[in-house]
Amino acid sequence: MYLVRVNMTNRTYQVTEVPEKYKYLAGRALTSNIVADEVPPLAHPLGPNNKLIFSPGFVTGTSAPTAARISVGGKSPLTGGIKEANAGTSWGADLAVMQIRGLIIEGQPEEKDKFWGLHITWDGKPKVEFFDATAYTKQPLSKVYPPIYEKFGERVSVCSVGAAAEYGYCNSGVCFNDQSKRPSRYAGRGGLGAVMASKGVKFIVLDRQGAPGVEIADKALFEEGRKKMIDALRTHAITKPKGGLNSYGTAILINIMNEAGGLPTKNFSSGRFEEAPKIAGEAIFETNKVRKGKEIFNHACSPGCIIQCSNTVYAEDGSEITSCLEYESAWSLGANCGISNLDDLAMLNHLCNEYGLDTIETGTTLAVAMEAGVIPFGDSKAAINLVHEMGKGTPLGRILGSGTETTGRVYGITRVPTVKGQSIPAYEPRAVKGIGITYATSTMGADHTAGYTIAPEILGVMGKVDPLSPEGKAALSRAFQATTAFIDSSGHCLFIAFAILDIASGYQGMIEEINGVLGTNWTADDVVKFGAEVLKVERKFNEAAGITKAADRLPEFMKQEPLPPHNTVFDVPDEALDAVYAEL
């Protein structure tokens, strides 16, 4: 396995074997360790000393199911701390097949207005060539992907950034192709798109032809684990074909969260949106059925996924508006902005993909702008115009592109839903208090993917604490965050957690797959230890960057403003929040 180090100061590169220190790290574990080892914590995120690191997970690129995740890491311009964001895409699998465990982009070109593409091929080992990509800038991504495929061939995978990143926005993501060559799979959060653009990199094109594939130390063990994982995913109600995710996508959660009173509405002023059912997964599925004349089940975002949760939203004339409209995007751009016109909501999502914007941060920013009176809540056409302002780089667009916290500051708004500078996603902490603890204490800023629940028997806390007490919630959050850090390193999509939580053999299968690839003897206990080590590394970097435990708090308004309909505040004591990492 290789580390490929690309220096954008002089457009040179080095290919080395993965050093011993990193041999048993991949995905988030590798990106976070390299950031911690090589990026000065006080470096400017868009300066020459930050680095952008790509790493596929342990089983990415193998025949393991639902395992084409690519982690992207660096110092975040949004939070000022360490960041890992990941996406499912053939790009991740291709990087792994080319035996690249880590791709490190460093340095910075002197010319500020010039952008480059990297074309990485296999020539006995990875080979990098550079091409001038300046002509592709400031355009919607759907306009620049087709000529790239034309130039390099249909089999390549493409990573890119949009105009938002070129402008240096803190809410810009790193974009990857989906299975239909759409620029639509995002490592969205934390502004890593701007870090990539700050290196003068517009594209990273991978051509895996001739590459040897992922080496597997114990093929029989890997195969055994893979089969267990497939069985678990195919039988679980949530992940199986025509199950919840395959039918309704992640937006299946809209109605649930709304009924629970935990769907943040109109900039977190209520937990219930009267028009929520119009933007929910059920509405998307049934609307598509009418418009296309048949039931449309969801598709895979990446090769080898058997959950297949990515939806497409079709217009009245049957043409495609966007793919994919996730729960968090439907919430942020919909309920949180008071928008219930499904077609306009889909268009907002599409425009975020076109300009390279994080849909969550964009929706929460629009809602703060609505609260400030820039446009009214619920005005979907005006919201579309504001996203165009971001895409064009107008002064207002640049303010909005700086994210929710900056926009709140510019307009003097106090109800600003952020933690460590990153906006709170689609689950209201005043209604769902457990996730509030994870939002507050995650190394990533508010992050709904930081604390997934997996097999309780290995968490080490069951039976010892009351899960409803503040201490119990803190202990569970710690265990969830650690196990999530492991899955984020495995290469599997986090959604395998749904199946392996309920089906113990699936959980065992994940460990066997990884042991099969690496030739290790990791056990269930090692999963938590591995994840905890990742969190320690991230936490240490953040502390050195000035993000201390004082930042492990939810915004003040959540402790003071009761949230309808339950009229509750976030009342988990600070001591419980501090306890999450005190015992790590």
Binding site: H236, Y248, M257, E259, A260, G436
Partner: protein, 128 residues
């Protein structure tokens, strides 16, 4: 006898119990019941077997999950909002950890194995 009105929300395929048998997105039906009615009485009037529902809320408080239905005897009051979800719905633990529940549900969850971390609670879980 006095009657009460329950604001009933039916989602996905359960929307067919809302009056229009073709509806599959959602239905909102105001259901009149005699005073003193319980959740089971509401199900009877809707014509819905309790096995067809999964996640259920009474006034935004979780009252049932697939395989765990401690709410059948829960008394209903005038103006209550009750929401029923189909069995393909999901609500992962991390996104419901610490939400409000009716008392019967809180007790039932604590009595489950693993204190309610799972997605479904029937013996052969997960099951449709």
């Amino acid at each position: 006898m006095n009657t009460i009105t329950v604001d009933t929300w039916l989602y996905g395929e359960l929307a067919r119990f809302g009056g229009n048998p073709e509806e599959r997105i959602f239905a909102n039906r105001k259901v009149s019941l005699p005073e003193g009615s319980r959740l089971q009485d509401l199900l009877n009037i809707l014509g819905m077997r309790t096995e067809e529902r999964g996640i259920t809320f009474i006034n935004g408080q979780l009252s049932a999950m697939p395989g765990l239905q401690p709410d059948l005897d829960h008394p209903l009051h005038d103006g209550d909002r009750v929401a029923f979800f189909h069995l393909r719905s999901m609500w992962p633990f991390q996104y419901r950890h610490g939400v409000t529940m009716i008392q019967e549900m809180q007790k039932a969850i604590i009595e489950t194995d693993q204190m309610g971390l799972h997605h479904a609670y029937s013996k052969d879980q997960p099951k449709e």
